[in-house]
Symmetry: C2
Subunit: 210 residues, 2 copies
DNA sequence: ACCTGAACACCGTTCAAGT
DNA sequence: ACCTGAACACCGTTCAAGT
């Protein structure tokens, strides 16, 4: 019984039932073991979840060669998209990455990779650090809201649109007018919209910086 | 025993001990009542938490006159800052706002207010809707990561900096070089940096839109 | 030396019994 | 009609007892 298998199983179960519903008994059963045995490999549920978080970051896997042939704009966008795609594969697990600054081995590797990239494109150390934080926060923050515990499934989107339309137009003229636009934009497009805003803003910040 | 007093007490307890540690027994005790009695006012803990979320949105309170005399850039930034300040007053409660799209009365009022503002400054309905979503997601996403359950208290920032410095510079040249910048920027400044990127990006999006 | 069944002190939720 | 003590089926965690 190695730690890797425990973490893989834990992530699989979280993908199926969510963090709240994941039980140490459930995990122990899936591993044909008992809850007490699990405590021999980590100190409690919180530590287990931190290991799962780094396990997810290890899945991101940015292809290094590809990234280096791109402009900084394209590279930043590609890194953010790749990260976002990984988070979308594990919607129930996203809150784990917001719980703390990831300092596991895979988190370190990803941070090093992106900051190196920014520095190689002429970003100052200060601007690179703030850019990394801003982009990272944006991706995780977006994913947690669009794909977290209260996931807006397609039928909920329709429900929400109908709810907005059912409001009194006299009291809520703007909301009812924008009801379709507020609920019809595909999540990925919404993500890309904000990401492009950030990159466009960075373009200006970079000019001021140098 | 009215619902308002229950919600106020629940929020006060969440501010003190967090969502996870809030117990219905604890809440019942604080109200000199029993857990079973609480169920006469809402159906379970989740519904209680949704009511607390809208209670927080009610606290935001954007002064209408002030906002209307500003440029759209200043108004968007001011609204985001005001929202952010409210979330900072209730760090433990922020995850509640990420759990679902807020459709309580106070959430509706805030959305209506901001979309109206964008429309009055010439934004198209489509751009206004996406801007609202992008800004809202940014503020909540940032707050949840900087002030959520794994709050980076000042001493943790120092610890994190020392940790980055302790890494092997050969393996992590960029991270060790940026260690100070990654950990020394005040949270509010970091928030403002990303917000300004978004607003600068919006400036361009608005030009393309019209 | 390593593992684990069984227990501990909790939790959210329910309902029969009280007023 | 309204309220609630006490119970239910859980949970994360611990440790004495087994192999």
């Amino acid at each position: 019984m190695d730690v890797g298998r425990i973490i893989d199983t834990a992530l699989k179960l979280i993908d199926e039932v969510g963090i709240q519903a994941l039980t140490l008994r459930m995990l122990a059963d899936a591993l044909d073991s008992g809850t007490a045995t699990l405590y021999r490999h980590f100190n409690g549920k919180d530590e287990l979840l931190a290991l799962v978080a780094d396990r997810i970051l290890g899945e991101v896997g940015i292809p290094p060669e590809e990234l280096d042939s791109l402009s900084w704009r394209e590279a930043v966008a590609a890194a953010a998209e790749t990260f976002y795609d990984t988070l979308r594969r594990h919607p129930h697990a996203v809150p784990l990455l917001a719980a703390q600054v990831p300092v596991g081995p895979n988190g370190l590797r990803a941070r090093e990779r992106l900051i190196t990239l920014l520095l190689s494109h002429g970003f100052s150390v200060g601007l690179a650090a703030r850019t990394f934080t801003a982009i990272g926060h944006y991706v995780i923050g977006f994913a947690i809201q669009q794909h977290g515990p209260g996931t807006p499934r397609p039928e909920d989107q329709v429900q929400l649109r109908d709810y907005y339309h059912s409001l009194d137009p006299a009291t809520y003229p703007a909301t009812t007018a924008a009801a379709d636009e507020l609920t019809s934009v595909p999540l990925h497009e919404e993500f890309r919209f904000g990401l492009d805003l950030l990159v466009d803003g960075l373009e200006q910040a970079r000019r001021k910086d140098s």
